[in-house]
């Protein structure tokens, strides 16, 4: 030990300056990234303190976590590896309580005293809690059911609370950006939402009353109730939230309250430590605290020239200046304040706002266009031929150009109307062309125009490719439009076809609903007809064929024109291709029930064709694996059974338990119902595979709670129907759709749900994504209560598909195409699947 210790002492001491950062949020981590980018690790030994017990994450994305679009794990900016790789000591979950600026020490709540040579304060801000009666318990904690919307923990707490079935209504206090995001996010959990806003109109910090009125219409159209000029005076409840009390208005009953009424800088450490604090920690143009040579501050906890910022872009600019000074990279670097522009999708509505909301001087020009019925509002304020303010709602086409014109004071066209509409004025490309190389296009990941153009010139010419390489647009996503424009500009019009995420299939630039209505309007009944009519230049696209074939079959049923080249090989030969190019055959065995005769026949076939493996599947079927393609028709013929659907994006199997037939506990005839469901819906195409189950009692031996559609018999002769469950790559317990009295209604509602899913889900979107995206409340309303009056239409469409069913294995005697079952296997020996 002694030897070791003395050897340790003999290594040269680390002479680097000790850099301590208080705060591990977006500002603190960004400042450190900027310092590292300037070679700061050579000069500094870095220690970071973070109040939250995590690495650092993108707070902007919390609304996506709330809505379920993003997993909490997906919003982390720097993993713990990043800290390790850069030699940064991270104290996560540790709060700094005091700074001794004379001894140059920080004291943290774990009892540690950490010396520093340079200190950065990046403590950010927290939700501002209004003075409202009943907000806190006598113990000083937030009342159960009250949430701030600031941290991962807040967000996850909100999600789990909102998902409890008896929590149906929420009130969001605050109708700004954050409040509207919270409202929309809560809706996705099937919660009814009221927004209570003290201002006269929504988002009054970003827009004037006219824009606010249009936004209100759009938000209300989403089913969110809005109360403006309303002040919350008390939270009602006592043990947990039961409602809110408003001044001069009736109380609102609710189970959940989200406070999104602004933010307040975290300045306690600075105050306690004797640093200058006004509205926030005061800093100079070098981001340095006045009279302190070695203490800097950055982000939302900072007041610069009287301004406090609550947006991300200023924070990036501040971090760069701070790093220039801390590392000495550019001692002349100064921060002169930020022009703030917001560009977001707020509650599903495109919102952009920058600078002034309205004209201030007699000479200011003001352009306004308002079309409330479409939710479109545009207002631009021009001074001395420069844009000094703009508000755009519901139409983001001109946003990229206007933002750049505002940021950089670009000269404007004589014909002002072209600022509002594309009328042959300066196109968006002109705006992109005039951007400097250093201009930051993606603020979340700090990607410059030059980084994007270099990537494109390096040969990467798809939007998604550039996004993958540079990470541009992979943060909050608000800059995607601009990234696309820069890519197009840099590629000089040779951007490769890009599988835009919102298209149903990559080769046809339409979302599903638009695609379906175009198909219907034009009577397109084959995949080649869809490409000819709707694809760019009429070009067919291999990646799109299977999705279109499935969609057309669903829409036209028996009137679909079947072009076999549009199918995946599995659907051409009605079997599942395996890794060695052979196929697997699964005979139909409805409900998992078989017979000695069937088993004998299967065994004989397995012998006759030297089937290398006979295996039971997870769905209670027998799988004959390793069948060469050319043997398929003979195998089917000798089996003499219909297709069992182990391939394709379609309805597959219904797993069952024995139910009341034999089981001591069975309360319903699950086997019979499973067979009925499987017989009715066999082979029905859908956007992704559908696996079902019926259990005869709540013991759930058929695992019905984790199926796309699962049915459980409960006591009293009733049946519960669950949808959206999964136990594969994702694990999810299905949501209860309805509890019904008879098996006939189970079959009806299951079919109606499947038809709704077929019509509305994205290609390859499993029900475990679809159900939470659309919301169980909505599905229940449409499917069980027929709130939209479409139930009969769904039933009818499903019936058409059922009626047009033919057993694909009948093609064994009459191949659909020449050489349908001819081998495609080369003669060489392939990598073989091991045979047991």
């Amino acid at each position: 030990m002694t030897a070791l210790a003395s050897r340790g002492r003999s290594t040269p001491a680390d002479t680097r300056r000790r850099l301590v950062v208080i705060g591990n949020g977006m500002a603190g981590a960004r400042a450190v990234e900027e310092i590292l980018a300037r070679g700061g690790a050579v000069q500094h030994r870095i220690t970071m303190f973070g109040d939250e017990p995590y690495g650092n994450y993108n707070r902007i994305m919390l609304s996506h976590v709330l809505s379920g679009e993003e997993d909490a794990g997906g919003i982390f900016l720097n993993s713990l590896d990043w800290y390790r790789e850069n030699g940064i000591t991270l104290h996560a979950g540790v709060r700094v309580e005091k700074i001794d600026r004379f001894a140059k020490l920080v004291f943290s709540d774990d009892g540690r005293a950490t010396p520093y040579d340079v200190l950065i304060i990046a403590t950010g801000s927290r939700s501002s809690m209004p003075a409202v009666e009943g907000l806190y318990t006598p113990g000083g904690r937030l009342l159960q059911g009250v949430f701030a919307f600031r941290t991962i923990d807040d967000t996850q707490g909100m999600v789990s609370y909102a998902q409890q079935d008896h929590h149906r209504r929420a009130v969001v206090i605050g109708g700004g950006l954050l409040g509207l995001e919270a409202a929309r996010g809560l809706q996705s959990h099937g919660v009814g939402v009221d927004v209570v806003h003290s201002g006269g109109h929504l988002m009054n910090a970003q827009m004037g009353p006219d824009g606010g009125a249009v936004l209100r219409r759009s938000v209300e159209a989403l089913g969110i109730r809005v109360h403006t000029s309303s002040r919350t005076t008390a939270i009602l409840g006592g043990d947990k939230v039961r409602g809110v009390q408003l001044r001069d208005q009736p109380n609102i009953e609710c189970d959940l309250v989200v406070v999104a009424a602004g933010i307040r800088p975290n300045v306690e450490v600075a105050v306690t430590s004797g640093l200058p604090v006004e509205r926030a920690i005061v800093v100079d143009d070098h981001m340095r605290v006045p009279d302190e040579d070695e203490i800097y501050a950055v982000g939302e906890c900072v007041q610069h020239r009287g301004e406090v910022y609550g947006l991300v872009a200023p924070l990036w600019e501040q971090a760069a200046v701070l790093a220039d000074h801390v590392t000495g990279a550019d001692p002349s670097s100064v921060y002169l304040g930020s022009r703030t522009a917001t560009k977001l999708k707020v509650a599903g509505v495109d919102v952009a706002s920058m600078g002034l909301q309205a004209p201030e001087r007699d000479t200011d020009e003001h352009l306004v266009f308002s079309e409330p019925s479409r939710g479109v509002f545009k207002s631009i304020v021009i001074r001395d031929s420069k844009i000094v303010g703009a508000t755009l709602l519901g139409d983001s086409r001109k946003v990229a150009y206007l933002t750049q014109a505002f940021d950089r004071g670009l000269p404007l066209p004589e014909e002002r109307v072209s600022l509002l509409f594309d009328l042959g004025g300066p196109g968006e490309e002109a705006g992109v062309a005039e951007l400097g190389g250093d201009a930051q296009v993606c603020n979340c990941n700090g990607v410059s125009k030059r980084a994007i153009t270099d990537t494109v010139r390096g040969g990467c010419t798809t939007l998604s490719g550039v996004m993958d390489v540079t990470r541009a647009g992979k943060g909050c996503g608000s800059c995607k439009l601009l990234v696309r424009q820069v890519v197009e500009w840099a590629a000089d019009g040779t951007v490769d076809e890009d599988p835009a995420a919102e298209y149903y299939v990559p080769g046809v630039p339409l979302e599903k609903a638009a695609l379906m209505s175009a198909i219907r309007d034009r009577g397109l009944r084959s995949v080649s007809a869809v490409f000819a009519a709707l694809a760019p230049a009429g070009a067919e696209d291999a990646k799109s064929k299977m999705g279109l074939a499935s969609l057309l079959k669903m829409m036209w049923a028996g009137e679909y024109i079947d072009e076999r080249d549009a199918r995946f090989v599995n659907d051409r030969v009605h079997a599942n291709i395996q890794r060695d190019g052979t196929f697997s055959v699964v005979p139909q065995m409805k409900g998992g029930v078989t017979s000695p005769e069937q088993l004998r026949r299967i065994a004989d076939v397995a012998d006759k064709y030297n089937i290398p493996m006979v295996k039971l599947t997870g769905g209670q079927r027998i799988d004959l694996l390793g069948v060469p393609k050319e043997d398929l028709p003979k195998v089917w013929a000798d089996l003499g059974m219909p297709s069992g659907y182990a391939y394709g994006k379609s309805f597959r199997t219904v797993k069952t338990c024995v139910g009341q037939e034999f089981c001591r506990f069975g309360t319903g005839d699950s086997t019979k119902l499973g067979i009925e469901i499987e017989s009715r819906f066999q082979g029905i195409e859908s956007p992704a595979k559908l696996k079902l189950a019926v259990s005869g009692c709540p013991r759930n031996c058929a695992e019905s709670l984790v199926k796309d559609v699962g049915v459980v018999a409960v006591d009293g002769g009733r049946w519960e129907i669950y949808i959206g469950g999964a136990a594969g790559a994702h694990i999810r317990k299905g949501d209860l759709l309805a509890t019904v009295d008879d098996p006939g209604t189970v079959t009806l509602l299951a079919g109606r749900f499947m038809q709704y899913y077929r019509e509305h889900a994205n290609w390859l979107e499993r029900t475990y994504s679809f159900v939470p995206r659309v919301g169980i409340e909505h599905l229940r309303a449409v499917i069980v209560d027929d709130a939209e009056g479409i139930a009969a239409g769904l039933d009818e469409a499903m019936q058409r598909s059922v009626d047009s069913y033919t057993d694909p294995w009948a093609e064994r005697n009459d191949p659909f195409t020449p050489g349908q079952f001819r081998t495609s296997l080369p003669l060489e020996v392939l990598p073989r699947v091991p045979i047991r």
Binding site: A542, K545, R564, K629, G819
Partner: protein, 109 residues
């Protein structure tokens, strides 16, 4: 099915009609395995039949005017050049055409 010539030269593989429009079929030609595709515009393409990634049967792939996608892992290959557009190794490509009596003719080097 091949013309029986050994090595290089022209090989007649039989009627074009053996290949459904938009699909591919595999042929053994002078010891080589070749996937021949008949595009929707009627033209033909020929590439080697074995995916260099994991040995997938290319003739079972899905095509459009430009590429074929291997059915196993969806690697795509340019039908003219055989080059992969998804980072796999290339397929070999072969000149191929339909002769006066609508037979598939492929030329081996």
């Amino acid at each position: 099915m091949s013309a029986g010539l050994s090595g290089g030269g022209l090989h007649v593989l039989g009627p074009v009609d053996q290949i459904p429009v938009g699909e591919g079929r595999a042929y053994g030609v002078a010891g080589e395995q070749i996937a021949v595709f008949r595009l929707r515009d009627g033209s033909l393409r020929a590439v080697s039949a074995l995916c260099p990634h994991k040995g997938g049967p290319i003739a079972d792939g899905t095509i459009d005017r430009n590429v074929v996608m291997c059915p196993l892992h969806q690697h795509a290959f340019d039908l003219e050049t055989g080059c992969s557009t998804t980072g796999a190794g290339p397929l070999r490509s072969y000149p191929v055409f339909a002769d006066g009596s609508q037979n598939v003719v492929v030329r081996l080097p």
